[in-house]
Structures are given as structure tokens and as C-alpha cells.
Symmetry: C2
Subunit: 326 residues, 2 copies
């Protein structure tokens, strides 16, 4: 009687979901769906079938929750609505500014299909969002701040790789310590982008490449780097592989505020993650449990982390939770 | 159309609730109930009536949620069930080991009366409990640790005051920094009580009192001090009033764990509170909003923070939350 999970898309996130299911004894993996040639895809759970995405509907009675592991730019805006016609779903849609549109599109379909789909799950959006909400509800007169890092930004790393002469690159987003401390001290600072984060780039270039030109192209790149203090380190491919092959990330949400009698308070939530995709996957899997439970209760529609009673995430019973965690 | 709140009990917590209501424009204070002589009680909201506890039932149609501000030792075990017969309620019952019994007693009555009662709200139990639950659901293979302080423990301060020759006292619980850092470093340490916290006592004694005897009585007091490294400072009443009149508290919940691929992660939630009762009150008021909303939906029964969809705590609409906080 375990919760039957499907994985749609098998990149870093899909592999993370596969690994996370093994840590949750009330769940089992039914199938991995891919748009590639299934016979060419080796997964880490040999007994589980790899199925072409075109045949996903064959599994409509065998999967309780589909965990979508595609990208937010082009995959999820299409896949989440399409799969919500057939399955309860969880996705990690992280394009913050487009969440209202995504919600509306998915909700319309979920209401029709009678399924539950939880969107924008992970750590930001996700756990960080929850902490922004809880902190603002508890301290309505206050201000919250989110800092990201130190961690690898895939988007910024990709932007560097597109520069002529660059072989490979890794970009770290780093919070400015003085800025974090000013927030913690209750100074309620106003920040520009530059004040909050710096960008550290580790770049491998072709032999004979013009490093001065590449460094300048990085530092002046609009949207990605121009508004930040950016440092560029040229390193060898060996160094990149040896020292920068992980995908760590993390950050902190801080809210400072005054209660009615004038006293100051600081609420802080921080994450230090050795693997961004594995942690995100673990969050997706916990919320998949909640989606299953909501669906069993006859609920349907699009949901976010804000709508989920925390107890629904846990494999423990309400009695156990009250006894051991409250 | 604001949410009509009653306050039952007017000590530090009751005054904190009164102050918090003023920060929440969708709420209004209807009455303060006291077991003392109402005419002798001055509250900080002059237009609001102070009513004797015996007459609380007169308000059964005028109060949406009653916030109970009595103590956990003797008040709440009696008051919460009694008032749940008449009102939706929130309490801050914090005797962790007796929560299951308190829940059962309150739930039986709430099911009968058709009311919602949320018990054990505040920061521990409360916000810390939520963070233990979220973190354990996301990192099922891991271990969590809760450290309290630096902050004033009322119970320990009272225990010192009962010693002969003591005029007044303030006891601070202080987390051991090396212990916190060992947890953060992912060392999964096993701790005794002594390893995690020290106890700092500031004590005012009568003229001519035997300080050596008093210090010894404190340091050897079972349950309260004997199992901890305890420091005793004798100070003057003036110093106590000048330097130790606040009621700060706080602490941190840390969970470290491995995801399925073997990567390590650290989740940390910390509070730094200038006023323990004011912060607790602010949490109670946010959850009172959730209790009101659940009751409006026809829900009844005993609830805890684990059962509440986070969005129910916020004065903002689901649309606003998705747009601005997700």
C-alpha cells in the first residue's frame, strides 16, 4: 500500500527524486518517463521500467503522483498542464514572476480532471517561501530579506559558457556578509542588487584566448553580471573538475520586526546544501506525499506549499508527530 | 467584518496579545476576561471592557476566537476544555510530555461543541515544532537538535527565588557554542543535558545572607541545575533591575541529514527575541486567524500547528501570497 510515484524527466532532479524515494519507505517508484530513447537510458533502480513520454497515459491507473523534473523555461509550462489532465502532479516551476499565470493554467485543468497539482515546490520557491510567509504572519510589522548562496547558479554558468573562447565555467553567487549582518542587527537596510550578492566566476578558456576580452565580456554582461561586483578566475579544466564539480547551494531568509510593545525580533531560516538538485528532489518527494493525501480526500485543483498542512508531509502519524515533535 | 478576539487572562501574554491585535488590521479586541476584580484591572485599550471570567458565556455570540493566556501548569488543563465548550480557542500549552492528554481532552469537547481549538501554539511548542516537522519530512535520514537561549527561564528563576535568603533572581539558559557548531558541522553528536546548555544565574540576596550556602543550593538543585554547568553571580537589586529586566529568549532548531545520493545538508531555524511573551503572543494571534477561517469552513476539533495550511495564518489573500511571497 505504498504511494506509487512516477518521475517525468531524468536529469539531475529526476535522479534526485529516484534517490529520495528510497529514503521514504511508504513510497515506491513505478516508472521513469523520458523523451529520449528509453532503451538508451540507464537508471539507478534496475527493476523499474523506463518508458517513452509518449506512452505516459498507459500508466494512468498505476501512478498516484507524478513528479515533474523538467525545466521551468520551456518544459513545465507545457508538461505540467498536460500531465495534470491525467495524474496528480508536483512540479518545481521556479520562474517567480510567472507563477500566477502557471497557477491559473494548471488550476483550470486540475479542476476539470479532478487531480491535485502542487506547483513551485523546492527550496526557493518552496521552503524559503514558507518561511517568508510564516515570518510575515507572525511579525506583520517588519521586513524580510532573502540571500542566496554560496552556491552554483546554472543560468549564470551557462551565460559564461556562451562567450567565445570559453571552454567551461562555474559561477558562484555569494551573499555579502556585511549586508546579512546589517539585516540581522535590525538595521532594516535598503539594498541594490550589488549590495546583497557578489558573483565569483571560475572560467576555463581555449589556448591562446584573449582573457582580458573574456573577463570584460563577463563583467559587463547586462542582467547577469553588470549590476554586481564580479570576480573572474581563469583556471585549468583539471582544476574546474577537481574543485568545482559539485552543485552546492543554499541561502538564508531573515525577517526582523517589532511586536506591539516595541520589542525587536529576528527570525532566520538558512539552508546549506551540498547538492542543490538532491535537496530540491527531497522537498518534491515530501510534498508528493501531501498531494497523494489530499487527492485521497477528494481534493482537486492547483496548490502551492502555502496550502499544505505540514503534517501531510510526514510519514509519521498525527499522534506520533504530536508526541515526538510538537 | 474583522475577526473578533477575546483575551482570557491578562498577564504578560495577555498584554502581548492585546498589542499584537493592533498590528493586525483584520482583527479587533472584544473583551478581556480576568479572574481578578475587573474594576481593578487597567488594560491598554481603554474602550474595551474588562469582564469577570464568571461571565464569559455572555460573550458567546460576540467572540470569534478566544486566546487563552493562562499558565500551562494549572490554568490551561482546566480552562482550555471549559472554554472550548463555548468558543473557538487558541492556547499555548507548553508541557510537552502532557500534550497527547491535553489534545485528547480538548478534542472530545471540541467535537461535541463544534468548535475549533488549537493547542500548544507559540514558538516551542509552535514555530520550533513546525521546523522540526518540515526538516524531518524533507531529510528523513538525519537528526535534529533544539537549543534554547540565550534567554530567561521563568521556571528556573522562580526555583532560585524559593531559596531562603534570596530576594530576587534571573536565570539565563545559554546554548553551548561548541555543541551548536558540532551540530552545524554535521558531526551528529550525542549530547547530555550538560553538553548542550549552561545556566547563568543573577541573584540578589538579603543583607548578611550566606552566599556560599545559596550558591551551593542552586548548583545542586535536582532537575533544575544539578545536571548543568551553572554559574552564580550575586548582584544588587539595582543591577538586577537595570540589566536584567527584559524577558529575552530564542534558540535554534538544526537538522542535518543526507539525501539519497549521499550529500549532506543543514537546515537551521533560529529566533532572537527581545520579548518572549510578546513574540509568543504574536504567534497566537496569527494562529487565531487560522482558527477563525477553519471554523468558518465548518471544521471542528482540536488542532495543532501541524494541521494548519500556512496560508491561513496570513492577512493576505492566496493570490497576493503567490504573487509576492512564493
Amino acid at each position: 500500500m505504498s504511494i506509487r510515484i512516477g518521475i517525468f524527466g531524468y536529469g539531475n532532479l529526476g535522479r534526485g527524486v529516484e534517490a529520495a524515494i528510497k529514503q521514504n519507505p511508504d513510497m515506491s517508484l513505478v516508472a521513469v518517463f523520458t523523451r529520449r530513447d528509453p532503451s538508451a537510458l540507464k537508471i539507478n533502480t534496475p527493476a523499474v521500467p523506463v518508458v517513452h513520454a509518449d506512452n505516459v497515459e498507459d500508466y494512468k491507473d498505476n501512478i498516484d503522483v507524478m513528479v515533474l523534473c523538467g525545466g521551468s523555461a520551456t518544459d513545465l509550462p507545457v508538461q505540467t498542464p498536460a500531465l495534470t489532465r491525467i495524474f496528480n502532479c508536483v512540479d518545481s516551476f521556479d520562474n517567480h514572476s510567472r507563477i500566477p499565470q502557471h497557477f491559473a493554467a494548471v488550476d483550470a485543468i486540475a479542476q476539470e480532471s479532478g487531480k491535485v497539482c502542487l506547483i513551485s515546490c523546492g527550496w526557493d520557491p518552496g521552503m524559503f517561501s514558507l518561511n517568508r510567509l510564516y515570518a510575515s504572519a507572525v511579525l506583520p510589522e517588519g521586513k524580510d530579506y532573502t540571500f542566496w548562496g554560496k552556491g552554483v547558479s546554472q543560468g549564470h554558468s551557462d551565460a559564461i559558457r556562451r562567450i567565445e573562447g570559453v571552454v567551461d565555467a562555474r559561477q558562484y553567487t555569494v551573499p555579502v556578509e556585511d549586508a546579512v549582518n546589517a539585516v540581522r542587527n535590525g538595521e532594516y537596510p535598503e539594498f541594490t542588487a550589488r549590495d546583497k550578492h557578489t558573483r565569483e566566476c571560475y572560467v576555463v578558456v581555449e589556448e591562446g584566448a584573449d582573457k582580458a576580452r573574456i573577463e570584460n565580456e563577463i563583467k559587463t554582461m547586462p542582467a547577469y553580471f553588470a549590476d554586481y561586483n564580479t570576480t573572474v578566475h581563469f583556471i585549468s579544466l583539471e582544476e574546474l573538475k577537481r574543485d568545482h564539480s559539485g552543485i552546492p547551494h543554499g541561502g538564508v531568509v531573515i525577517r526582523t520586526g517589532k511586536t506591539g510593545g516595541g520589542n525587536e525580533h529576528v527570525i532566520e531560516y538558512s539552508l546549506k546544501l551540498d547538492s542543490n538538485p538532491e535537496f530540491t528532489s527531497s522537498v518534491l518527494v515530501a510534498f508528493a506525499r501531501a498531494v497523494y493525501r489530499l487527492s485521497e480526500q477528494g481534493v482537486c485543483g492547483c496548490k502551492t506549499v502555502f496550502d499544505i498542512p505540514p503534517a501531510y508531509l510526514s510519514m509519521y502519524s498525527p499522534e506520533e508527530l504530536r508526541k515526538n515533535m510538537l
